[in-house]
């Protein structure tokens, strides 16, 4: 990984992890199966409009992830949590009161408007990577802010239903049960600091 970050590998320089290397261009498999020679994450979205919609939703999820990060690092990523705890304790309750309901309420609305797929998917009529991402958001928020989330979830039943449907997918269920799934911890994005799990 450091070879890439240190710029020792040709090609696009990654900013920070995660980055994904896809072996495809010019490969035999690419020539024989060009439709499949793109990341698995978008392989299920056939229509361009669906891919754009998914991209937009994923960008919104990225915005939310950044705000989750800022609940425990509101001042600077370079400082320890302990050095910005006071600011975190101001920010987190506002995040839980204003921002999480706004974001999850948005996804709830998107699902409610999708009569075609009966609200089962954010985009199209099949599970896509944005559904998986929303699942992860719910999982992470439940870990980090269990008290606040128990209340917020009640107002967003479609989001919760989507989360449950993703968790029941065979490959996802197997993955979550495997050693490949790392446990949530206080080094990642979703951190459980009980003092931050309060709605004022």
């Amino acid at each position: 990984m450091m070879r890439f970050l240190d710029g020792k590998v040709p090609g696009l320089l990654p900013f920070v992890p995660p980055f994904l290397k896809v072996r495809q261009v010019g490969d035999r498999a690419d020539r024989e199966h060009p439709r499949l020679a793109r990341p698995a994450a978008v392989a299920r979205l056939a229509r361009r409009s669906s891919r754009l919609a998914a991209h937009q939703l994923q960008l919104t999820i990225a915005d939310l992830v950044a705000e989750v990060h800022d609940t425990h690092h509101p001042i600077a990523s370079s400082l320890y949590y302990e050095d910005q705890r006071r600011e975190a304790r101001r920010r987190a309750p506002l995040f839980l009161r204003e921002r999480v309901p706004k974001f999850l309420g948005y996804f709830e609305q998107v699902l409610a408007r999708k009569r075609g797929s009966r609200g089962k998917h954010l985009v199209g009529v099949r599970t896509s990577y944005v559904d998986l991402s929303l699942f992860q958001i719910v999982e992470g928020l439940r870990y980090a802010f269990p008290r606040a989330m128990s209340r917020i979830e009640r107002k967003n039943p479609r989001v919760v239903a989507l989360h449950d449907a993703v968790a029941a997918r065979p490959r996802i269920a197997r993955y979550l049960d495997s050693d490949r799934r790392i446990s949530f911890n206080e080094e990642g994005i979703f951190r459980h600091y009980p003092e931050l799990d309060a709605v004022r």
Partner: protein, 108 residues
């Protein structure tokens, strides 16, 4: 993002330099066979391959995504932002290697 309990970011996340243990890169036979170029990833890919499902594209002839290779590069001890990618790869039954979680993978 962070590794360890320190600040959040890459500042203190670079692991100590250690002796490279990956296989030599640029193996000509491997390139001719159309496989990847990363030594570490090549070594562990074989093991992963046996554990993964075959992927069938909807409504098309059976094609194995195992012919396509994905190398995910992300911090090895957290879900973090990498987890969104891991979920997509897992749900697709894709043949991927979580490179940094393998021995020598942080350097590779």
């Amino acid at each position: 993002m962070t590794i360890g309990t320190g600040p959040c970011g890459r500042l203190n996340s670079t692991p100590p330099r250690s002796r490279r243990i990956a296989a030599p890169r640029g193996n000509a036979a491997a390139r001719r066979a159309g496989r990847g170029e990363s030594g570490v990833a090549d070594q562990i890919r074989r093991r992963y391959r046996n554990e993964r499902d075959e992927y069938r594209a909807p409504g098309s002839a059976p094609v194995s995504l195992q012919e396509l290779d994905y190398e995910l590069y992300y911090w090895p001890t957290i879900q973090g932002r990498g987890e969104f990618v891991r979920l997509a790869l897992e749900d697709a039954g894709a043949d991927y290697v979580d490179v940094a979680r393998e021995p020598g993978g942080m350097r590779g």
